[in-house]
């Protein structure tokens, strides 16, 4: 078991290395350069600027220097916001995206898991069909459609909740963006929960429990839930990482100053170090999420412990 986890950790480090190399190549081969401005600056000034950021060395040197710095925790300086540290920018913007992601996941779980359990328990009834139909609509209704509708309808017309901005986790401004972001994840979760629960509910030990005359509630929650949640749990980790990168769209719609906004700005201004920092952070989140998922799965599924 420890061996499996160490193996996964090794793979995660490999993933990050590949991600770093890929980002390095993609960013350094971008058309244009980070010092393109509306008013062209003289060539010699540009050269000096490039030298200051270490962008004049040949690519292999840059690749290694950069990697060494990153391993020491130095992500370089932003070229777009002169003089600002990339880690400082991320330190300010990432918590916003993170809190938004957490709130969205809570909403997704509150909607998705009960919906999945109910439709599995009432398989092939009207409740099941309508829940799954709603889930399918939820999957196909992208956040950039539902977001503007919620912002205009609830935020601007009815003035119930703030339509834009950010006042922290415990404020009403988080509700609309978190709901928008959490709906799709919730819809997927309900489908996975239903499938997992149906799988377990069809097994012999459940029939035995029913034959013994156990109450439906205790069968559902005591016997079936732990096993039935495995597919949903496997999805939770990657879904959380996906939610954080998915918040790029949400931040755009609701004008939230999170990391997604910084990333899009960095892309448009071709800020090499800021792009790299954001990408590596998104990548590490996925690696960590996958690792945690693996561990939780082993806990839920004893059969995995032996191998």
């Amino acid at each position: 078991m420890l061996k499996t986890i160490l193996g996964r950790l090794g793979q995660g480090i490999l993933v990050l290395l590949v991600l770093y190399s890929l980002t390095f190549i993609l960013v350094r081969t971008l058309p244009g350069d980070p010092f393109m401005e509306e008013k062209a600056i003289p060539e010699h000034v540009k050269e000096k600027k490039k030298a200051a950021y270490g962008l004049n060395d040949d690519l292999p040197t840059q690749y290694l220097n950069n990697l060494g710095k990153i391993l020491k925790g130095d992500f370089g300086y932003s070229t777009m916001m002169t003089g600002r540290d990339v880690s400082e920018i991320i330190k300010h913007s990432f918590p916003v995206s993170f809190q938004l992601g957490i709130a969205a996941m809570i909403i997704a779980m509150l909607i998705g898991i009960p919906a999945g359990i109910i439709s599995a328990a009432r398989k092939n009834t009207l409740i099941d069909f309508s829940t799954m139909a709603i889930a399918m609509i939820g999957i196909c209704l992208p956040s950039f459609v539902i977001g503007p509708i919620l912002a205009t309808w609830i935020g601007q017309s009815m003035k119930l909740l703030p339509a834009a901005g950010w006042d922290g986790f415990f404020s009403s401004s988080i509700i609309l963006p978190a709901v928008t972001l959490g709906l799709i994840t919730g819809a997927y979760l309900s489908r996975l929960t239903r499938a997992g629960m149906l799988d377990i509910l069809g097994q012999d030990f459940i029939r035995t429990a029913q034959a013994k005359g156990l109450k439906e509630k205790s069968i559902l929650f005591k016997h079936a839930l732990k096993g039935g949640m495995i597919p949903a749990v496997a999805y939770l980790g990657p879904a959380f990482a996906g939610t954080i990168s998915g918040s790029i769209i949400i931040e755009q719609i609701f004008h939230i100053p999170g990391m997604g906004q910084q990333f899009i700005k960095a892309i448009n201004k071709q800020d090499p170090f800021l792009i790299q920092g954001c990408v590596l952070l998104y990548g590490s989140l996925i690696v960590i999420a996958n690792l945690v998922t693996d561990i939780v799965q082993v806990y839920l599924n004893p059969r995995l412990r032996k191998s």
């Binding site: 890929l22 960013v27 609509i137 790029i248 690696v287």
Partner: protein, 317 residues
């Protein structure tokens, strides 16, 4: 003894069985009709005189509500929204189909080589898929999309050199889409390659393949003639399910301003323009969204139906 009584009962092929199962699935049949309607409308609609030119601006008549002259109303520049939705649909469908073809090609080749080669080649190829799988998809697609940008310019110049300057207007809209095809296609083949590999491995271990090999048939021929036709089922199912996710991606990129660029407009671009003016002119968001969401829903229901029909074992219950 009449000849008819000795005739063996007419068997049904696997495909006929699947077709019958699909026809029993109401959601899939409705989806097929809806999809057909939307596709035909987008492809043929613009040839009819009642569909305006989507790029003609009419500033005095801007932000008009739906009427007989403009079925869906007009946008902030007075362009007919109905026409824009139809032309946008063409672009969205084109991007989805071409990108799906790109990802199908890569996935099919990668997966079948890995599944058929086995051993070290298989392990290496699938490890690469594992690693690519763990990358932040949206982020990499955005980076690739920007990187492929100069391709547009070069390709346009290249083609125009041979076809003359007059054709520039016809070529440019297509070449500006190519970075998008490549960027999304470059990463959306991963799941498909896993499915192809598993299916190929499954078929390759059967006796008739061994028989074919012992008859001295070459690997390429076995793969193309004896294995590929037998894995079509899962490939069709998965491709049908990949198309809506590609459409979603295209729309998401277009929403961020990194996808389809002017003069083209896809549903994603229309939704983004509508979202900006949702408060003053809600139809700009509502109509393109309805078309977009119905298309996605139909494709997903059709994919689910196809999976139940072609692969009854894999369906959930």
């Amino acid at each position: 003894m009449t000849p008819s009584s000795t005739d063996p009962e007419k068997g049904t092929s696997l495909w006929q069985d699947a077709w019958q199962r699909l026809c029993k699935n109401k959601a899939s049949i409705i989806s097929v009709w809806l999809l057909g309607f939307i596709i035909v409308l987008c492809l043929i609609g613009p040839f009819f005189p009642f569909v305006d030119n989507p790029n003609i601006q009419d500033l005095p008549g801007r932000n008009a509500a739906p009427s007989w002259a403009h079925w869906f109303g007009t946008d902030h520049l007075g362009r007919d929204l109905f026409a824009r939705v139809l032309y946008g649909g063409r672009i969205s469908i084109l991007v989805a189909l071409v990108t799906a073809a790109v990802s199908l090609t890569i996935g099919l080749i990668w997966g079948s080589i890995a599944g058929y080669a086995k051993g070290k080649i298989d392990t290496t190829m699938m490890r690469i898929v594992d690693i690519l799988y763990a990358l932040p998809f949206l982020i990499i697609v955005i980076l690739l999309r920007i990187n492929f940008e100069p391709l547009t310019q070069n390709l346009t110049e290249f083609i125009v050199k041979y076809t003359g300057d007059d054709s520039r207007e016809a070529i440019e809209p297509i070449t500006t889409l190519i970075p998008l095809f490549l960027a999304i296609g470059a990463l959306s083949w991963l799941s498909l390659s896993r499915i192809v590999r598993a299916s190929v491995q499954n078929i390759a271990s059967q006796e008739y393949i061994e028989a074919a090999r012992s008859l001295g048939i070459g690997n390429t021929r076995i793969l193309l003639k004896h294995i590929l036709p037998n894995i079509l089922g899962p490939v069709i199912v998965y491709t049908t399910l990949t198309i809506p996710s590609i459409m979603l991606f295209e729309a998401m990129l277009s929403f961020l301003g990194l996808g389809v660029k002017a003069p083209n407009a896809s549903w994603g671009v229309l939704i983004q323009e509508g979202a900006d003016r949702m408060f003053s002119n809600p139809q700009l968001l509502v109509f393109p969204s309805i078309f977009f969401v119905i298309t996605l829903l139909s494709l997903n229901f059709l994919g689910d139906g196809l999976r139940d029909a072609l692969d009854p074992k894999a369906s959930k219950d």
